[in-house]
């Protein structure tokens, strides 16, 4: 067998099973979302087939007609977008300053800032609840928009710091020699080159916001103000009863655009994460 074909086959043999394992949960979610309860709970039925009234869109209809799911999706996107903007506004200049302007202390400071990210929300949600209450922000999405940057900014700063270091300083020197100010250099030279890093920050920050649970639970209880992480959990798990079909549909729907987003910008995402790895 020619070498190239053999190498291709070996690659497929390694990658293929992993791909099946990783994709299987999504396949399971899709199949469960399309099943009736009678089909799902009947252990005589083949789990990968349909019976007893399946496939059905009842679970999806239930989500959008009987719950505030559409509202939760909107709230999640809104919070995500605002937090991404706040994070970029703070993390990008901070990352640049640490990479270029802070001398010997830059690296240590960057690591120190990153360590803030490691403090778990389960430790902080109690004191932050007090702060949110004092500010009168209970049950408001603004509370999440102000608190989420507390963990997105540290990680993003650290990530961008590493990325900015990969940019040759000669480019900035050349711009400065031509008369550009520091800010202009940043905006016209550094940031455009840093698109992979910035994109990584955008995608990662948005994912963190979508997945966050503890603060969303502690600060917001009104159904119309919930995000999907708490809304799904509250309304589709009632007491000791799980509405599996609707649960799977609810978690699958936001996964699809996220997966498409990752896929569309995968090369830049990887470049963003690994860009700072070699300095």
């Amino acid at each position: 067998m020619p070498t190239r074909r053999r190498e291709g086959l070996v690659a497929w043999l390694i990658v293929g099973p992993w791909a099946i394992v990783l994709a299987f949960p999504f396949y399971w979610m899709l199949w469960t979302a399309l099943k009736t309860d009678q089909d799902l709970y009947n252990t005589q039925n083949v789990p990968f087939g349909f019976a007893n009234g399946s496939p059905t869109l009842h679970n999806v209809r239930f989500l959008f007609e009987e719950t505030d799911y559409a509202r939760w999706l909107f709230n999640t996107v809104l919070v995500g977008v605002v937090v991404v903007v706040i994070t970029l506004v703070f993390a990008a200049p901070a990352g640049y300053a640490l990479a270029r302007l802070s001398g010997r202390w830059g690296q240590s400071l960057g690591v120190g800032i990153f360590l803030v990210y490691l403090v778990p929300p389960t430790l902080l949600f109690l004191p932050l609840s007090r702060v949110i209450a004092e500010l009168g922000l209970q049950d408001r999405l603004l509370s999440l928009m102000l608190v989420y940057p507390s963990f997105t900014i540290p990680f993003s700063t650290w990530l961008l710091m590493g990325f900015f270091k990969t940019i040759p300083p000669e480019l900035e020197d050349a711009a400065r020699v031509d008369g550009a100010s520091r800010v202009k250099t940043l905006l016209r030279i550094v940031f455009p080159i840093s698109v992979p890093g910035l994109l990584t920050v955008v995608i990662f920050t948005f994912s963190l916001c979508v997945n966050e649970f503890v603060y969303a639970l502690a600060f917001i209880t009104t159904s119309s103000q919930k995000v999907i992480s708490t809304g799904i959990y509250t309304e589709l798990i009632r007491g000791d009863v799980f509405f599996w079909g609707a649960l799977m549909a609810a978690t699958l729907i936001p996964s699809i655009p996220l997966a498409l987003l990752y896929n569309a910008f995968l090369d830049r995402f990887i470049a963003g994460f690994t860009g700072g790895a070699f300095r």
């Binding site: 996107v77 007090r130 502690a218 009863v241």
Partner: protein
């Protein structure tokens, strides 16, 4: 020949290809528009809208669990509170939360010293006694209107040391045994789980047939209740009437041995990792032959697996050497925080809810039993005429269980803060699990855990709560 006159003007060339940069730019503008516009909207970041058609004098904010019967929440949110709100010139806002998140949310509100006027717990929150008002006057008012409070509710929400009702219990939930009549008949036990001895004898045959017994030994509420009740049936009690740690060695060792044998002969090791919904799901999927759980199992089966539902029977807790002693499955207990903004409306709401509890009882499909029995007349007749019960009259046994076999956690004493802590730390399931898995002998486990309970009790005694 193309020349300057005929060649297209490059500066006017229109690019139709959409690049990633373009997508991002447009998405960013759109998102900024939405975010900016929404910042000033009355809803979304500004919070939920006020009651639309009428300016009401006050606001009452309630948080409670998402009831497993969606119809109950529909009735409560859309019918009862609306009617009550209009009658009392109060806007009532009801928020729902998953039952597993109640402790975290309560802790957040206490830390914030801000939150809801009425907070609902599924077990008596003795540990929050200092954070709540005295509910004595509410209890007194309902007692005046509806007579005596049920002992199980009284002993679960009253502290005899401080003479304070630290919560108001509107309902408790009886805890029947759910058993598969067809499987038990095949195993040769047509009468079902009448005693723990019968359960142990039937267990090997049932498991061999692929239908193990389902008593959890994990950190979740069902395991707590089932195992505490089993202990009482064997004569082992965490505390006595004087609120002193009891845990007599002989019956405690005996029940731990029994639990170990039951696991070895009739259960599967998944019980060590169960959540509150695990026994429901396993029973409704047709796997388990027995589970100790409220009627959420049978009600779920009626909707999702009606054929199976007709084979699930209900029975009181099996009898043991010390008789038949059970616990409530959960107990609804509202508290009014000291920092609540509308205590007056909160108190009136509770009084009105409890004095006419028929709607709650019926819409919960008999899950919520009233803490004042006189609040719902003719309970046996209501239970007997349930339209979907198969076999007919299946739910009548709930009346007997509620009457005779339902006690409070901590029985024969009161449900105090120490019991609450033991309950919330799932120490009883851990004790049984360690013995069942062979990590400790029954004798060691009985001694070690009794010692740990004494430490807990002493700590609360030092704080003046016991």
């Amino acid at each position: 020949m193309a020349d300057a006159q005929t060649r297209p003007d490059d500066s006017k060339e229109v690019t139709t290809r959409t690049t990633r940069r373009e997508i991002l730019k447009r998405a960013g503008v759109g998102a900024a528009t939405i975010a900016g516009g929404s910042m000033f909207a009355k809803t979304s970041v500004a919070g939920a809208a006020k009651y639309p058609h009428r300016e009401l004098a006050g606001t009452l904010r309630i948080i409670q669990w998402s009831h497993f019967v969606p119809a109950y929440d529909d009735w409560f949110d859309d019918v009862y509170v609306k009617r009550w709100g209009q009658a009392n010139d109060t806007e009532v806002v009801v928020d729902h939360i998953n039952q597993a998140d109640i402790p975290a949310r309560a802790a957040a509100e206490v830390a914030a010293q801000s939150g809801h006027d009425l907070f609902f717990f599924l077990s008596p929150p003795a540990q929050y006694e200092d954070q709540v008002i005295s509910h004595n006057d509410i209890v007194a008012e309902v007692t005046e209107k509806r007579g005596k409070m049920k002992d199980v509710a009284r002993k679960a929400t009253y502290n005899p040391k401080t003479k304070k009702y630290f919560a108001f219990s509107d309902n408790y939930v009886p805890d029947p045994v759910n058993w598969r009549s067809d499987l038990w008949a095949e195993a040769g036990y047509r009468n079902g789980p009448t005693s723990w001895d019968a359960v142990l004898k039937a267990a090997p045959k049932l498991r061999a047939a692929g239908h193990p017994i389902g008593l959890g030994m994990s950190n979740e509420i069902d395991s707590n209740m089932a195992l505490m009740a089993m202990m009482m049936c064997f004569g082992s009690f965490i505390q006595n009437e004087k609120q002193r740690v009891d845990m007599k060695r002989k019956p405690t060792v005996e029940v731990l041995k029994f639990g170990r044998e039951l696991y070895r002969q009739g259960m599967s090791n998944e019980i060590f990792a169960w959540t509150a919904s695990s026994n429901n799901q396993a029973m409704v999927a047709g796997r388990l032959s027995l589970a100790l759980n409220a009627i959420s199992i049978t009600r779920t089966a009626e909707g999702q697996n009606p054929d199976l539902a007709s084979k699930i029977n209900l029975a009181p807790i099996p009898s043991g050497p010390n008789g038949r002693l059970g616990l409530e499955h959960v107990m609804g207990a509202y508290v009014i925080w000291k920092f609540a903004k509308n205590k007056t409306a909160a108190k009136k709401f509770l009084v009105d809810l409890e004095t006419k509890y028929i709607g709650a009882f019926e819409n919960s499909k008999f899950y919520n039993f009233p803490s004042w029995p006189a609040s719902v007349p003719n309970v046996p007749r209501r239970l007997a005429r349930d339209p979907v019960a198969k076999p007919t009259g299946k739910y009548s046994i709930l009346g007997t269980i509620a009457e005779k076999y339902t006690n409070n956690p901590g029985y024969p004493g009161y449900t105090n803060a120490a019991i609450d802590e033991i309950f919330n730390k799932f120490l009883i399931p851990q004790m049984f699990a360690e013995v069942a898995q062979g990590k400790r002998t029954p004798e060691d486990a009985a001694e070690i855990y009794a010692r740990s309970f004494r430490t807990i009790f002493q700590r609360w005694r030092n704080r003046g709560k016991i």
